[in-house]
Amino acid sequence: MFSIAFSELIQLFRNRLVLITSFVIPVVVSAYFVRQHETFADLGSLGYIAAIVLFTVAAFGLYTTTVTTLASRRQNLFLKRLRSTAIGDSGIVAGLLLPATVVAVVQVVAILTALAMVAGGPANVPLLVVAVLASLAMMIGLGLATAGLTNSPEHAQVTTLPVTLGVIAVTSWVGISGTENLTVLKRLLPGGSATELAMNAWNGGVAVTDSLRLLAPTLGWVIVAVVLASRLFSWEPRR
């Protein structure tokens, strides 16, 4: 697995286009949110900024990279090549996605640290860690499922749009308007409960047990995404 991960890391840094679209742009956008934190805090809260930067990295960085990587490796038969070796399927997927996941974690940690330094830290760091990990897991799962519908890296530019724009929209909707109205709908939408969890962790004022209940919809999306992926994902290009 680590051999694959290392080779993916090499490829990631050799492919400038992927590096810029998936890793530089989310950081730049997030930096803008942090710099304008007073404006966005007035619009929602500091927790909203934490949630929006989290999902900017998770959606534009991790999710799109997951889909593009898997579609690309499948299209050029690299997945089939890897399956000709002794490593199992889960090891292949883990190896392919590990570098993008680690980079996303580093990005989120760096950006949230910057936000804490300029605007004040989160109320509950462990809860924020849970929110970040759950959100990233959900986006990886959705990426695996979307990769099942994606024929090529070019096709990924289209297939990733609904989820990418969707979770950013949900995050902004929940972050700005809260969940007092349409509570169930907002929490069940992908990214809705994770946004509320991240906001609770940053802003405080909500019991930890109440916040942890918000994990259920997010983990539910992980399960749905993995089930979809297991049905949709193919290791070879469609004939």
Binding site: S7, Q11, L77, L82, A86
Partner: protein, 308 residues
Amino acid sequence: MTPLNDRRDRCCHWGMSTTPVIEVERLNVKYGDFHAVKDLSFEVRRGELYALLGTNGAGKTSTLETIEGHRRPSSGTVRVFGRSPVERDVVRPRMGVMLQESGFSPDLTVRESVRLIGRLTRRTDDVDRVLDLVDLTSRAGRKVAQLSGGEKRRLDFATAVYGTPELIFLDEPTTGLDIQSRDHLWATVDRLRENGSTIVLTTHYLEEAQQRADRIGLMHDGTFYREGTVSELTRTLPAVIRFALPPAAPALPLHYVMDGDGKVAIETFGLQKDLHTLLSWAQEHAVELRDLEAGATRLDNVFRSISS
């Protein structure tokens, strides 16, 4: 063409045995309503070079991919080294696979690609030795995207033979290779066989299969049309005597047809006897048999007989 007895001697010297490395029993592969492989059964013995040939759409790729463990059979059993080929951690360290298409990441270098796939096979070898084996040392630092088609095939071959596996699948190994690279590849295959490796080959170059295969499985419409040694396959069709006759030659003593080149073609299952009859007749009538050719039928004629 290598005489059969020579090949048999070579087989025995190289340690071919009757122990099956691959056992396929009543294999069926279906894609929806399409029945790609139908009740196929065969064995590949340790140390032999087995060629799986067939017409387009005959089912050889589905068969090969099932044996390699890339897909599961719809029904029937496939055993490789006595295990299911989908047990990758057990079977794959003992087998190398040269895919029909390369399947390498274009952004990795040749050396990185061999090192990566080599490690993942869990066999041990020296990357430089393997690169030297396939004459890619000078390309070691180049990205795969910069390689020619032939160089990519050699890279594919390098990963298949990394660590000298016991069983090697070669899927169209010489497609896109120049003649020198072909000779080099076959020389390497010969050395692998001396080392006891078993080879499963698919190729569209029938002369390669005819020269090198110990046995051939000739597939058509999802199952075997014929299976056996080259001799066994070709003896089912008549040998051919072909020559040009001068004008006004007396009547021939044997039944014949005129082929497309205006030559006389005599098909026979008794080549030596009929050739003797023909030569005696020519001697007696002082007739010159120009461009005389006589020989057992070739594998491509067996192939053509499938569709006739």
